[in-house]
Amino acid sequence: MDNRIEVQGLTKTYHLYRKKSHRIRGLLLREEYLAREFEALRGISFTVAEGECVGIIGLNGSGKSTLLKILSGVTSPTEGSVRIRGEVEALLELGAGFRPEDTGIKNVERQLMLRGLQKEERRRRMSGILAFAEIGDFAFQPVRTYSTGMFVRLAFAAALSIEPEILLIDEALSVGDVFFQEKCFRRIRALSGKATVLMVSHDLASISRFCSRTLLLNGGVLVYDGDTKDAIAEYYRIRQGTMPCTERKNKVEMPVWDEPMRIPEAGSLSGAGQIRITAYSWQVNGAAFREEVMQDDRIRVTLSVQTEEPTDCLITGFQVLDKRGMEVFGETNLTSGNGRFSTQLRKGESLISFCFSWPELREGDYFMTLGIGTGPEVLCQIEQCWVNQAVHFVNSTSGRLIYGLFNRKMEEFQIISMEADKNE
């Protein structure tokens, strides 16, 4: 298939000035030294083929939005080349260019007009947009009277009605109510067969839903380009700050513990690293390293921990994520014990173990991340050592249908007939 987007060595430099007057001097006199250069993007290269749906993720300030801005032609790159073949529609900001004083219809009309559509075409699109937005007679009211939800609906409907060959979406899907979001997802999915879609989002679940391939940006550099699941794992690792890794001799057998333990993969570790998880193991209903789990199975996790500095406020926790990288559940010793559990850790090597039972969950793949931190509270802790996606579980429900992420049983149920009894 043909490449729709070809990006070669893309670099975008912004000039930052400490004072306003410096900027004017820089412009007039070319006194470049007054500016501090900030490279929002550095040497990015990739290609996107026709019909592909590619996600772009990264921490705040990693250059995602700048990349989309360049691709959409709003701003130009400092270096490098961008080749785009096809009509581009960019959703950089939902409802940008809507005027609050004008009615919904008028605003949509303007959006369509600005894209140079003919009268017939505009009329056809307009009815489709109103049907999709489902805002009823509010379409004839000024947009300033709209609720946020209505505004989002209309803006999205207007943007999606244009059937572009290349669609660029920046963080737009994370707004609106769930039902409408779902509707937009379906629309985009329908589009993505024909169109090339690039989406930026912090919502990793929706990225993994649409995109089989994901670009991960960090500090303006493309650090990963490939399978979405790996990109998300990499993203988490970057988010927690990579830990300095020391080469350890591969000892599987621990002296005080007669079970074999796994050494964490060097790449899966992150955190400050004053306390380190050197090995870990788990059991499902007593069976070591089992991956198949079901509701109410008892899971025991053991961590071998090494530290040079003793601490009084150790926090040990786990988090279970689904394969889209969405956090499903998790707990820490601090929050589940209400102070019952000791949080002291002595210098040297220690073994930590905890136990929990598997909840009712939809079937599928789950990954458990194990983590150790220090601090008085979970929300203000120093992440010492995380083993990202340490354990893989396959959850089965033995044929029971889970209607959502999990089920909740009805606790009362009755049928009362409201018809009057004919015999009386």
Partner: protein, 252 residues
């Protein structure tokens, strides 16, 4: 082109969309200004007629192009900054914006020109209007304002204070241009070069020349000065625009 006309209409509508009478205010307020000024100078100061031309007509013939020019300059200065949303959030050809602004000012101008022509024919039915001259000076105003739009509009992005400065400069321009007052022969002798160097004076006097009876020959010196100024302004405007328009979105 269709986009241009549509956006010019929108531009007008939006400018006055908050009020009840809407775009009507665009016509109403200058119309009232003309009436008030005419009344003051005609009834109050009893300005004598200029030659055989009634003062009201003489003044209006200069005030109508002045309105177009001042509206065009002020609007052109803000043409990019007021459409920042379009430039920053969408792919949009920024080069149409000065034209959009010019066109929306022109729509109002056309209305006034029409009234002016009616009044003029009512007061001076015997002498013909020099339509060739009118066409020439309309073109001149267009090119003058287009250059100003590109130049000032681009500068405004980097110098946000410019639009306030332009407001004051327009005040100044109004008083150094013979819109309300008349040039005397003595003045022309003493500061003729200064008068000729004012491109707005050239346009205002040109409109009077087209509409009112009198000498119909173009003054050579001020014509040359006007076109060299306008040409330079166009060149500078398009140079600055093409140099900086790729980074507009970063600057706003």
């Amino acid at each position: 082109m269709r986009l241009l006309i549509y956006m010019a209409w929108e531009d007008l509508r939006i400018r006055y969309s908050r009020s009840w009478l809407g775009a009507l205010w665009a016509f109403l307020s200058p119309l009232l200004t003309v009436l008030i000024l005419c009344y003051v100078f005609w009834a109050g100061y009893r300005n004598p007629p200029v030659g055989e031309i009634p003062f009201v007509l003489w003044f209006t013939a200069g005030y109508v192009p002045w309105l177009f020019i001042s509206d065009g300059i002020a609007g052109g200065t803000r043409c990019f900054t007021e459409y920042a949303v379009l430039i920053c959030k969408q792919r949009f050809p920024a080069q149409v914006l000065p034209k959009v602004r010019l066109l929306s000012s022109f729509i109002i101008h056309c209305f006034f020109l029409l009234i002016l022509l009616i009044v003029r024919y009512a007061l001076l039915p015997d002498t013909p209007v020099r339509f060739f001259h009118l066409l020439y000076f309309e073109t001149a105003v267009f090119l003058y304002l287009l250059g100003a739009g590109y130049l000032l509009g681009t500068l405004q992005i980097f110098l946000p204070d410019l639009s306030d400065m332009v407001g004051i400069l327009l005040q100044l321009l109004f008083w150094i241009t013979p819109v309300l007052w008349q040039e005397s022969g003595e003045m022309r002798e003493r500061i003729g070069w200064m008068l000729a160097g004012n491109p707005v004076r050239y346009l205002v006097q040109g409109f009077r020349m087209s509409l009112l009876p009198g000498d119909g020959r173009l003054p050579v010196r001020s014509t040359l000065l006007f076109w060299s100024f306008t040409g330079m302004q166009l060149l500078a405007g398009s140079f600055l625009f093409s140099r900086f328009s790729p980074s507009f979105a970063d600057e706003m």
